[in-house]
């Protein structure tokens, strides 16, 4: 089973939920798919056993074969290739802009001269480790790299189907989030009871409804703000899975990278109950189909 933890708004507590849920259950694999700003390792402190570089394929032109026909430029939907045709006095030139390339392979497949091959461009690293009984995988995007979805897809290749998989997703509602949560059996949407939290929760709910992934809401810092997130969930018939009130103690322990279940074992029971609740919801959804 795959449970992803997402939110529209950043900083609502996705990593808190992912890490504490992972520590409360058995036979867990935790995937940190917030590859732009991965933080779960700060709380889990896994022993990293393997470090692998992640690449995307980008085109490389063999100038000896290229006749500057411009086909590659024409087929590239991302404007990642420019071709300067040559003349009697000057050789032509092909310019590649790797940061625009999505690695679709159209240029190399369709080049009439077979002058383009694909070479690997490093976009980040994937680290695999463990801590106690938790298997841990995360991706870390290189600085200056724009596209996180290819790295997220590569992290998700390490999903271990024999375990309960918890995915810590990035914030937002666009491609990185979709890539992270796609294929999940359930998604926990973490929010806070403020106008910002509610606004972004509504957007995240639309995303999950489009993706047809069952979901529930986790309200963090539940006692500061207003009651509008509760009202919204009630109106929309969205289950509220769990609440954590604001406390300075929790905030301080978070700031130091100490998961709350390690400080207060009552929270472990709450996270286990949330998990049981999630399983019930998934089973009900499956039996309806």
């Amino acid at each position: 089973m795959i449970i992803s933890i997402a939110s529209g708004k950043g900083g609502t507590g996705k990593t808190t939920v992912a890490v504490n849920l992972a520590l409360s259950l058995k036979n867990i694999q935790l995937l940190d798919c917030d590859v732009e700003e991965p933080n779960a390792h700060l709380f889990i402190q896994p022993r990293i056993k393997e470090e692998l570089k992640a690449y995307i394929p980008v085109p490389e032109v063999n100038e000896a074969k290229c006749n500057y026909c411009g086909k590659c430029r024409e087929v590239c939907a991302y404007h990642a290739i420019a071709v300067l045709p040559g003349n009697e006095c000057k050789k032509g030139n092909v310019l590649i802009f790797p940061h625009l390339c999505h690695g679709c392979g159209a240029c190399s497949l369709l080049c009439p001269q077979s002058a383009i091959k694909e070479v690997n461009k490093e976009i980040g690293v994937i680290e695999i480790g463990e801590k106690d009984n938790i298997q841990f995988v995360h991706g870390c995007l290189n600085i200056g790299e724009a596209m996180s979805p290819p790295l997220i897809r590569q992290v998700k290749k390490y999903i271990n189907p024999t375990r309960t998989v918890i995915i810590d997703a990035p914030p937002g509602t666009s491609c990185p989030v979709i890539t992270a949560v796609k294929g999940s059996d359930f998604c926990v949407l973490v929010t806070e009871p403020t106008p910002f939290g509610l606004n972004d929760l509504i957007l995240a709910v639309e995303v999950l409804r489009k993706l047809q992934i069952p979901f529930g809401v986790f309200i963090n810092r539940s006692d500061i703000g207003d009651g509008k997130v509760d009202n919204y969930c009630e109106e929309e018939n969205i289950p509220i899975l769990m609440k954590i009130p604001f406390s300075r103690e929790i905030a301080v322990s978070y700031s130091e990278g100490v998961p709350i279940v390690k400080k207060d074992s009552l929270y472990q029971d709450k996270f286990i109950n949330m998990y049981i609740n999630i399983c019930t919801i998934i089973n009900e959804a499956n039996s309806r189909h």
Partner: protein, 283 residues
């Protein structure tokens, strides 16, 4: 004209709360919300939308069932796994490269332009405001950011405004890079947590990579004085000016719930500190 972007790396550190206050403090400026996939600044600025535009960007493949002979050539060439075994397109996986439509022997696949979102030019009590809404589950957020920044810059030039103040997105990826490119300075808002420190360091590296000078503010600094000091030590070491330390104050959430900017809602030391941050930032 000076362009200033507020970024953080980690989400939820207070970018929008601070940007809202800058809207109330700065004169002769335009505000821009570049967190296009989870935009919130409008909840503080209460814009009256004057112009609404569709944002067209990218393409999605569409298979014509009548023309498709189910030969299967398209499936293996798609790097994004977007063509299902029943010869339909999974919209959310399609990145619009068009390779399938180019190689289809029966010309059964065409590419349709996406409406990836909307952008708006609005009036607010704080002056003009450019903002956007990315379509649900759409891509190309970086291009939408670039679009609204260009519009804001044009308005700023036309009206001879002094500042373009940009509320940026979290993370370090494409919308952040699009928010940062060509600005005069970036203001990093962070919080005294290990995650906040880690992410601020990463986003600072991105700014450095693009040659953008940065300043930093520690929000909720008194939640962990030890880590707040670590952040400041990092800034001293790297020569990053620390423009202010904002205390944790539940009244900030109160202001937010009322849809008001902090500097207008409360007169605590927090508001004074934010005013002080703006005084330094504008000079």
């Amino acid at each position: 004209m000076k362009q200033i972007v507020v970024i953080s790396g980690k989400g939820g550190t207070g970018k929008t709360v601070l940007s809202g206050s800058l809207a109330a403090l700065a004169n002769n400026k335009i505000m821009v919300d570049c967190d296009v996939d989870a935009a919130d600044l409008h909840l503080l600025l209460h814009p009256k939308v004057k112009e609404r535009h569709e944002f067209k960007s990218g393409q999605t493949a569409l298979i014509d069932r009548k023309l498709c002979k189910r030969c299967g050539k398209c499936i293996p060439v798609c790097r994004f796994g977007a063509i299902k075994d029943d010869f339909t397109i999974e919209r959310f996986s399609c990145e619009g490269c068009g390779l399938c439509s180019l190689i289809c022997p029966h010309k059964a696949i065409r590419m349709e332009e996406d409406v990836a979102g909307e952008w708006f030019v609005s009036d607010t009590q704080y002056g003009p405001f450019v903002h956007a809404k990315l379509g649900i589950a759409e891509e190309n957020s970086g291009k939408l950011v670039a679009k609204i920044r260009q519009i804001a810059k044009e308005i700023a030039e036309k009206k001879a405004l002094d500042y373009v103040i940009i509320d940026g997105p979290p993370g370090i990826g494409c919308p952040v890079i699009a928010s940062l490119s060509g600005v005069d300075c970036a203001l990093i808002v962070t919080e005294p947590t290990l995650s906040g420190l880690h992410d601020a360091q990463r986003v600072r590296e991105v700014a450095k990579h693009f040659n953008i000078s940065v300043n930093l503010v520690v929000n909720k600094y008194d939640l962990n004085l030890g880590i707040a000091e670590k952040i400041e030590a990092f800034c001293r070491e790297q020569g990053i000016p620390v423009l202010g330390r904002i205390a944790f104050d539940k009244k900030i959430v109160e202001a937010l719930v009322k849809g008001k900017t902090v500097v207008e809602h409360i007169s605590s030391p927090v508001a004074e500190e934010i005013k002080n941050i703006w005084e330094q930032l504008k000079s």
